[in-house]
């Protein structure tokens, strides 16, 4: 939207859905993509600067805030910040304890990080859609998506990390053979070796699909919800300025529920997947 004349609705929407991509373009060389097509031509070896920037800032903010509360932790009467942090930590801790019964010191902090980080990333959705991108344009940044969780790379990055941990713990807890057995001897089993041999490919297909679908569904659920929410905010922003509040306020209020719920679902499913990885059969 750096162009001088007012953009059409389509241009406006497309502009708002385009990340700030930095990478190597076959024709223009190393630099920032100036259109969606250019960004697509850069392929895999490029990076979404806006997603990275906002997610890192938000993650750092999470660590800073919680570390501050942790450093000044008072076992007596807690202050406001500590009270807030305690509620969140207790909430996560309770959920982890209820679902995850093995002994692993990584799971609870990971669940907390996922919950708060995703919540903060989703929360950016409540910042009016034009505020930060306009500021960016003023200093010469052509594109800016400030909600990292509307970038499929971000949600995939998280869910694939969870997936890798899932496989790592599955093999660590059950052993390589145990993991393979889980994929091949379930859900159909038989005491007859011949029947069992017939079942193995069927089981592998079923279990393989269910295994692969976990990170995909985890990432796309969050991405889809946030992307759709953001899109609706953008559509509302196309209305005349005096009418926008009638739709954007109810949608924003509803979205407060959505962003919290999506963060919670991502955390909860991560805990469930980790619990499944630690389960012995």
């Amino acid at each position: 939207m750096a162009s001088s004349q007012a953009p059409t609705s389509t241009e406006y929407i497309q502009h708002h859905l385009q990340n700030l991509v930095f990478g190597y373009h076959p024709e223009n060389g190393l630099g920032i993509a100036h259109s969606g097509a250019e960004a697509a031509q850069m392929g895999f070896w490029s990076i979404n600067l806006d997603s990275m920037f906002f997610s890192l800032v938000l993650g750092a903010f999470f660590i800073w805030l919680f570390k501050k509360a942790a450093d000044n932790f008072n076992t007596g009467v807690p202050g406001h910040l500590q009270g807030c942090v305690e509620v969140i930590v207790e909430f996560v801790d309770t959920n982890v304890r209820d679902t995850f019964h093995a002994n692993n010191p990584v799971i609870a902090p990971m669940a907390l990080t996922i919950f708060v980080w995703i919540f903060l990333m989703n929360l950016m959705d409540l910042v009016p859609v034009d505020f930060v991108p306009r500021l960016g344009e003023a200093i010469g940044i052509p594109y800016m998506k400030i909600v990292p969780s509307t970038d499929v790379n971000v949600t995939m990055g998280l869910s694939l990390s969870v997936f890798v941990l899932m496989i790592y713990y599955s093999i660590k807890v059950k052993g390589g053979m145990g993991f393979v057995k889980e994929l091949t001897l379930m859900p159909f089993g038989s005491s007859n070796p011949v029947v069992q041999a017939i079942f193995i490919p069927v089981n592998l297909l079923l279990e393989g699909v269910s295994l692969i679908s976990k990170p995909i569904s985890l990432a796309l659920r969050l991405f889809g919800n946030m992307y759709a929410g953001e899109l609706i905010f953008i559509l509302i922003a196309l209305l005349p300025f005096w009418a926008q509040w009638a739709l954007s306020v109810p949608w924003a209020i509803f979205h407060i529920l959505v962003i919290t719920l999506q963060a919670f679902i991502f955390m909860m499913l991560t805990i469930v997947y980790m619990a499944m990885a630690h389960e012995h059969h």
């Binding site: 993650g59 570390k67 932790f73 930590v89 801790d93 990080t113 998280l158």
Partner: protein
């Protein structure tokens, strides 16, 4: 919407944040919470204990009070008995003393009576002699008639 390096960047950031959270954020908070839980549990247990102790103390107080009452009643009873005894003894002593005083007074009275009688007898003797001297109008020689007078006195 294209998949690109951001994916890896996110995975790395995620790992980093989880590490920081695991190292610096989670343990102090969760330990603090556990500590507070222990503190509260301890406080409640202490309160329970002290309330139990108070009950015990109250029971002890009741027992002590009961004992004290019994003792006090005992002491009062003893004191009363002793008081009665003292009164009895005093009465006896007073009676004896009274008797003794009465006897000595009686003796004194007797003595007085005897003395008075002697004096009267002498005075009557003198009066008789004086009377006789006046009646006779003569000189009655005292020395001559002393024997007679003494005789008279003795007869009184």
């Amino acid at each position: 919407m294209n998949l690109n390096l951001t994916l890896l960047g996110q995975a790395i950031s995620f790992a980093m944040f989880v590490y920081f959270c695991m190292k610096y954020v989670w343990p102090p908070i969760i330990n603090g919470l556990r500590e507070r839980q222990a503190l509260i549990a301890g406080g409640l247990a202490d309160a329970e204990k002290s309330s139990q102790k108070r009950e015990e103390a109250e029971a002890e107080i009741a027992t002590l009070l009961q004992d004290a009452k019994v003792q006090a009643a005992d002491i009062v009873a003893k004191a009363q008995k002793r008081g009665n005894e003292i009164v009895e003894t005093s009465k006896d002593a007073a009676r004896t003393e009274g008797d003794r005083l009465k006897l000595s007074a009686q003796a004194e009275i007797d003595q007085e009576v005897i003395g008075a009688r002697e004096g009267l007898r002498k005075q009557v003797g003198s009066l008789a002699v004086e009377g006789a001297r006046r009646i006779l109008g003569s000189e009655v020689d005292q020395s001559k008639h002393n024997a007679v007078i003494d005789d008279l006195v003795k007869q009184l």
